[in-house]
């Protein structure tokens, strides 16, 4: 597979390490009430779609960027690649 890195251009996927569902960006607040349920849902339950999947890849043998890749799990076609940091900021994550 080839991942079109937003900063570096097309790179062989073998340079990357895969993590999984991009929903892992959306970490709950550990100090909020009901955190245990929220974390269970966050960490363990996955949509696992047969189709478009937004997922986290880490450019480990590269610039160490985390990327959010939108990929079809049936065909492996990649339709979008974003810096995970940008995605996280857009979700309103800060400090």
């Amino acid at each position: 597979m080839i991942i079109d890195h937003p900063l570096l251009g097309p790179r062989d996927a073998r340079e990357f390490t895969y993590l999984g569902d991009a929903a892992l960006i959306d970490r709950p607040d550990g100090l909020a009430a009901g955190a245990e349920d929220a974390f269970y849902d966050y960490l363990y339950l996955r949509d696992n779609p047969a189709g478009l999947h937004r997922e986290l890849w880490y450019h480990e043998q590269g610039d160490r960027s985390w990327l959010v890749v939108t990929r079809d799990t049936r065909s492996h076609e990649i339709t979008q690649v974003e810096l995970a940091r940008d995605v996280a900021l857009a979700l309103g994550r800060g400090a």
Binding site: M1, I2, L43, E60, R64, S75, I78, G94
Partner: protein
């Protein structure tokens, strides 16, 4: 002495100026450059080349190409043997030695041919129905017999002596196959300046043009191909790769290709090279494969595909026999008859299944609406039996029967992404579905366009379309050469019915029409079921010669159409690929890279024994003269640390430099314990949890400034922790002002441990730095200069439990620093110690390491539960409180043998005295064990349920796999200096 090459004809594309000598089955033969092993054997009138898998039937060539299922030989060269090699794909070289396979004691007299007599019992799937009684006989009696008989060639058990290589290639357009379509595609794109790779499995580009007689632009097709090769060779952006099989297509335009070395390649060259080709577009011009017709006795040597017979005659000037017949269902069979006759072979009959077939003027007679229903001849064909249109039977003597059941496009690369090919009634074949693989287009015979003119036009059009997709200019279309444009005329005909005898579909695996019928009768109706039940299509040709006819047979039996019956899934590789090539150079010592520590040269010079720690090589211990057992060395090194001072390279521990205004707050999220409160110039032990609450790693965080920390990780987790922290930084808290960089390889870090450590360091660290306990106490850190001005960092941390420091200097000074430490510390007893002593020291001190941090351990199990702060949001804190984890009452403990001498095996389970040795009674396990020279006793760390083992309790360390059952006492895990007086001293 036999006549040299009795079946050699005039003409052909071989170099008669040179004669090559080779051996097959122990006999010497001759051939010429340009021959394949197969064509040379044909020229030498050798028809019997192998034995089939199951019935050990005598078999000869059926093809001239990579689809060959019968003529598999073992090549011997340079002491190595290559089994299962297709004779059709072996370039003849002088001195070549080939041996037949799957026959014993000889190819001509094979005892297992008795299987053929038992064939009525050995039907498809017979083994599923028997060999069940008596119980146990399957494995003891039947299966060993079956295994001995199974398999094809024999694999040497010596290491493969040859080398292989791998590489990457990039192109705009990959053209697969260099027949007329492929050459035209490559020319079209190459002339336009595109970066083109033209790959072909044959030794010379040209494809079928090298085996045909028709003209292109008034010259032989092979001459046109030669001119095309010359033009391509002159185009700077084109790379022509003969002997290169593109075997698979993967994602995003990645193709796998295997290039075989030419016979004249230097001996040190890789035998094969595996290329990963990244192609922006691909033109699939892989041609087509002719298919046999199933009729009784159709497997006899001398019966071969008509196009192969034509190729042997035209390209290699080798006659399969002097008298031949042709059996066909299509017009291309007539072309084969014409070429055979033109070469001087007597074509005694052309048998055409079609009642309306044209007359063949080159055959002695044309039998329309007729079928071959039987054959005879012991080890090769002597005669065929033909059933004429009216039903009359005739026997016709002939030495070869050329069979054409039509042609199948080689669509494999278009179907490896799981798109099922489409059935095309007009050519009675499956064709690729356009768009099945992004960026790929089929052209020529691979697309079901079988005329040469159609191939040239298709190749050009496909290349132009690809260039357009890529936004490259294709220029004005060039006029296409003039050549034959014969229509495809074929009437599907799969198997002869109403005649006795077995009719083979899959030659190698001995699958007959009856087997398919039996499978259907037993309910195996899906093509995949039939394949798996009968093994049809699972031979080394992966069904290239078998599948379509079998689907035709299945369709006829089930009454479904062929399109509804469908194909089995096409899987890579197109032709088999050596495992050696796929592994490339990553074998033996080069299997994985070696990481050496900065002090590797130092350790080597002192005779260290090395051990692997992941990819790292670390000094395990430093034997001294007179020491005969590793324990002597290790015990001495441990005593040196406890009694004087030791030095050890700990560079492999991960080091991450953390900087930024929010660095402290960031580390508070990463570690379960507080880091923000750490004063500048101090170090703190840190415990890192995974988000699921399990301990991920431990290490230290050193605060060098308000915005600057150095954190350490275990050796094994250095990469994973960096990845994890980058995830937290970029994905979880992107608003934090914090930057990370791994500096593991930038700094050499040396542990200096033992009562004399301070004295030694005072001789290394430059004078202005005060190392007194007051100024630089336990857990202090700071920048220092050493050895007269070299900048470094000093950490007063201790893994051994002694007064200890870790000194970091730029990596390139690590080796010199070790030398200096040893030189300046000689009178202090300075001793280098390795990982083994390091392990003993930490077990004596009760520090957890990899064996304890196994991915299932909680902080509480380590006795560190109180470190998990509830006042801040750190990774893993929330889920660590789940009842299943919080309720786990197993705790780290120390163990000593009651008798003071018995070693406690790491990996033993802990039980109460008197309890039955069964899982229900297990209270815990031993995680790490060592002999403690300090206590002069074996010691161990382990985890044990609190309820079961209070300190001082007697337990048993039980290890059934080595028959040991050791009474032990549970003690504090801190065997040495439990109060920490030494490390604070």
């Amino acid at each position: 002495m036999t006549v040299a090459q009795p079946n050699r004809l005039a003409g052909g594309r071989i170099d008669r100026a040179r004669t090559l000598s080779f051996r097959f089955d122990g006999r010497r033969y001759t051939g010429h450059p340009g021959d394949t092993l197969a064509s040379a054997l044909v020229a030498n009138d050798v028809a019997l080349l192998g034995r089939s898998f199951k019935y050990h039937r005598p078999r000869g060539l059926i093809s001239a190409g990579s689809e060959e299922p019968n003529a598999l030989v073992t090549l011997a060269h340079g002491g190595a043997h290559t089994p299962n090699t297709r004779a059709t794909m072996v370039e003849l070289v002088d001195g070549l030695v080939a041996a037949p396979q799957n026959a014993w004691p000889s190819l001509r007299f094979d005892t297992l041919a008795v299987n053929d007599l038992a064939a009525p019992l050995l039907t498809a799937g017979f083994y599923y129905k028997t060999f069940m009684w008596p119980r146990g006989f399957w494995e003891r009696v039947y299966e060993p017999a079956i295994r001995r008989a199974a398999g094809l060639g024999r694999l040497d058990t010596a290491p493969d002596p040859d080398s292989y290589d791998r590489g990457f290639l990039h192109c705009d357009l990959l053209v697969v196959g260099a027949g007329p379509a492929g050459l035209m595609a490559a020319l079209t794109a190459g002339r336009a300046g595109a970066r083109v790779i033209l790959a072909d499995e044959d030794t010379v580009a040209g494809g079928r043009l090298n085996a045909e007689t028709h003209a292109i632009d008034d010259a032989p097709g092979a001459d046109w191909a030669a001119a095309a090769r010359a033009e391509l060779a002159a185009l700077p952006s084109v790379r022509v790769m003969p002997r290169t099989t593109v075997f698979g297509v993967f994602d995003h335009g990645t193709y796998g290709a295997l290039e075989r070395a030419a016979p004249d390649a230097p001996s040190h060259a890789p035998r094969e090279t595996f290329w990963r080709i990244f192609a922006r577009a691909c033109t699939l011009c892989a041609g087509a494969t002719e298919r046999p017709i199933a009729f009784p006795g159709n497997d006899r040597p001398g019966i071969l595909l008509a196009g192969a017979a034509r190729a042997f005659v035209n390209r290699w000037a080798a006659a399969p026999a002097r008298r031949a017949a042709v059996f066909t269902n299509n017009d291309d069979g007539h072309r084969s008859a014409a070429d055979l006759a033109a070469a001087g072979i007597e074509v005694v009959a052309l048998i055409d299944t079609r009642a309306d077939a044209p007359d063949c003027p080159f055959a002695a007679e044309t039998l329309r609406g007729a079928q071959v229903i039987g054959t005879s001849g012991r080890r090769r064909l002597t005669a065929i039996t033909v059933r004429a249109a009216g039903g009359a039977l005739r026997r016709i003597a002939c030495g070869a029967l050329a069979v054409s059941g039509g042609w199948n496009p080689n669509l494999h690369l278009a179907a490896q992404h799981r798109a099922r090919p489409a059935w095309d009634d007009a050519i009675a074949a499956f064709v690729p579905v356009p768009g099945a693989v992004p960026g790929q287009r089929a052209a020529g015979a691979a697309a079901g366009v079988f005329s040469t003119a159609g191939a040239l036009a298709g190749g050009a059009a496909a290349a132009r379309a690809a260039l357009e997709d890529l936004g490259l200019s294709a220029g004005a279309p060039a006029p296409l050469p003039r050549t034959e444009d014969a229509p495809v005329r074929v009437t599907a005909f799969w198997h002869v019915t109403g005649a006795p005898g077995r009719a083979w579909l899959d030659f190698q695996n001995d699958v007959t029409v009856k087997d398919v019928a039996l499978a259907q009768a037993e309910g195996f109706r899906s093509v995949e079921h039939v394949k798996r039940y009968t093994t049809l299509g699972m031979a080394t040709d992966q069904g290239r010669t078998a599948s379509t006819a079998a689907i035709g047979v299945m369709a006829a039996l089930s009454g479904q159409g062929i399109a509804e019956t469908g194909t089995t899934m096409v899987r890579p590789p197109y032709t088999p690929v050596s495992l050696g090539a796929l592994a490339g150079r990553a074998r033996g010592p080069r299997f994985r890279p070696v990481r050496r520590t900065p002090t590797h040269v130092f350790a080597e010079a002192r005779g260290a024994v090395f051990t692997e720690a992941g990819q790292w090589l670390r000094a395990q211990y430093y034997p001294r003269p007179g020491e005969t057992h590793w324990r002597e060395s290790v015990d001495r090194e441990v005593r040196a640390v406890r009694g004087a001072v030791g030095v050890c390279d700990v560079t492999t521990l991960g080091k991450i430099d953390v900087q930024g205004a929010d660095a402290a707050a960031f580390l508070d999220r990463i570690y379960c314990n507080r880091m923000a409160t750490l004063p500048i110039g101090r170090v703190r032990y840190g415990l890192m949890l995974r988000e699921d609450g399990i301990v991920m790693d431990d290490g230290t965080a050193a605060r060098l400034g308000p915005d600057h920390f150095i954190v350490t990780t275990t050796t094994a987790n250095a990469g994973a922790v960096t990845r994890h922290m980058e995830f937290a930084r970029q994905c979880l808290w992107p608003g934090m002002d914090v930057q990370l960089v791994s500096v593991t390889d930038a700094w050499a870090q040396i542990a200096v441990a033992g009562p004399n450590a301070r004295r030694l360091l005072r001789r290394i660290v430059d004078p202005p730095h005060d190392l007194s306990n007051q100024t630089f106490p336990f857990m202090a850190c700071g920048a220092v200069t050493v050895c007269g001005g070299l900048g470094g960092r000093l950490f007063r941390i201790s893994f051994s439990g002694e007064l200890a420091y870790e000194l970091a200097v730029p990596a390139r000074y690590g080796n010199a620093l070790m030398d200096e430490l040893l030189d300046r510390g000689a009178d202090l007893g300075a001793t280098p110690y390795g990982t083994e002593a390091l392990g003993v020291l930490r077990i004596e001190k009760g520090h957890a390491a990899g064996n304890e941090l196994n991915g299932r351990t909680t902080a509480a199990m380590l006795g560190l539960g109180r470190m998990v702060s509830g006042e801040k949001d750190s990774i893993g804190a929330v889920l660590s409180r789940r009842e299943g984890l919080a309720g786990d009452d197993r705790r780290l403990a120390g163990f000593v043998p009651l008798d003071g001498t018995s070693a406690i095996p790491g990996g033993a389970h802990l039980l109460r005295p008197g309890a039955r040795a069964e899982a229900a009674n297990v209270l815990g396990w031993i995680s790490s064990a060592a002999f403690s020279p300090t206590l002069e006793s074996p010691i161990a760390l382990g985890f044990v349920a609190l309820a079961g083992a209070r300190m001082g309790a007697t337990l048993r360390a039980v290890s059934p796999v080595d028959g040991r059952d050791i009474p032990v006492r549970a003690v504090s895990p801190h065997f040495v200096d439990p109060d920490g007086g030494r490390l604070r001293g």
